[in-house]
Symmetry: C2
DNA sequence: ACAGGAAATGAACATTGTTCAAGAGGTATT
DNA sequence: AATACCTCTTGAACAATGTTCATTTCCTGT
């Protein structure tokens, strides 16, 4: 068990290449990607509950057992889909930043808003799977150390931190990173809270109003040294 | 089916009181609360996946069928538990505000931080069930209109709005309400993101650092009119 | 051809949510 | 007192699901 991740560990019988291509249906790699694409579609349609081994197998044209041959269990499939999404989100963010660069937008507030807008668009484009990403509890955390999941999140934080660096708020690296994480978490909270809140199209408007207010207040607050306005309240 | 919520709709055969008490084990109401208490404990221990009809029945000393006699399905049980939690959170928030009043704390930043601290403590006190609250998708939304769920959330927003009212930021009621929702969503996002992020005790520290920065920046930003600093960026 | 082994298969098992026909327990009516 | 009637309880039964594993299939190297 738990043989996932060690594909092609040993060649077939001995060290030979049998990658003829042609007549061969699909590589394990290709089949894995096909499974992940199907899984993402399923998650998008019906959330985590819609990710069923038999459905995947049927749509992929393979048997249930083969799914478990590619992935240890459905949790791993879900995790893999999430990583793809996080990865794509990072790419989207970078693309948004490149767009801003191209348009010569230097105003920090504009740039942050554009980043937030990109995030909102991404979430709206994945209505079913994004909540699944957020709700995903890595139960039985494999290791205490940071995994690929955290690495992807850190990459997202770095993008925001890069935007903040453009504005001159007198922040050292640590504090800027903290501000980036705070801003990201806040936007994230607004988006997800909005999804829980009232229905329909007023939702999108409310989310955007909150984001506008947050970013406006955040930038103004940073400009006036709010990041250092410690109150001497003890946590707990 | 769907008979939940209409208990004792008609008396037994006719209008008679057979509530002797004594010898009678448990009222439906009492049994429902017992079930909810058990359900909350189960959610706290193992998340949504740990809410099993048979476990509830066993621990409550009734049969599986009886559980479905009290609640339409497990979703309704989950929903009821969530409502209890939201209700309790509201009470906690009001208690925290009363404490501040008693201590004569008038500084807005202090008060917001104290509220946030109360929220964080509450979440930490319900490590398993709180994520379940957030992840709860009311699938098949019964009505388009606001339900009890939204009412509870609005109550929470109102508490925050009350705190903001103390500070004089030149906000009209609508804008203050928006700021309250924004602040709440942001804190919420910080807490839940923190739960997703790195493990262990550094987690709590990181969460609190983010909250401190957010509140500091938020208050400073409001003081300097950041709530009106509209950028002319279009949403999408 | 044959042997060896990796990969695919799908039947089988365990666990779940949910339903429902049968029964139990009580009240009112005669 | 006996009966009819109603409500609530029960637990067996069903369907859907995640997961396993003995068997078969398919390919490569000899």
């Amino acid at each position: 068990m738990v043989n996932a991740g060690k594909w092609n560990e040993s060649g077939p019988t001995s060290g030979s290449e049998y990658k003829d291509r042609k007549s061969m249906a699909l590589d394990k790699e290709e089949m894995s990607e096909k499974v992940l694409a199907i899984a993402e579609a399923l998650l998008n349609e019906g959330g985590a509950d819609n990710l069923k081994a038999r459905t995947i197998a049927e749509q992929a044209g393979i048997s249930v057992g083969s799914v478990y041959n590619l992935f240890a269990d459905l949790d791993e499939v879900h995790r893999a889909v999430n990583m793809r999404l996080l990865d794509r989100l990072g790419a989207t963010g970078l693309a948004a930043m490149a767009d801003l660069e191209r348009q010569g937008v230097t105003d920090v507030q504009h740039r942050i808003l554009a980043m937030a807008a990109a995030y909102v668009r991404f979430v709206e484009a994945h209505p079913g799977s994004w909540p699944a990403v957020l709700a995903f509890n890595r139960r039985r955390a494999t290791r205490p150390g940071p995994d690929a999941y955290d690495a992807l999140l850190d990459a997202l934080f770095d993008i925001v931190a890069g935007v903040l660096k453009a504005g001159d708020f007198g922040l050292d690296d640590d504090r800027r990173a903290l501000a980036a994480r705070t801003l990201w978490s806040s936007v994230h909270g607004i988006v997800t809270s909005g999804y829980v809140a009232n229905s329909d199209s007023r939702q999108a408007e409310e989310i955007w109003h909150q984001i506008e207010l947050l970013v406006g207040v955040f930038v103004k607050g940073l400009e006036h040294g709010g990041a250092f306005a410690h109150a001497d309240t003890k946590p707990a």
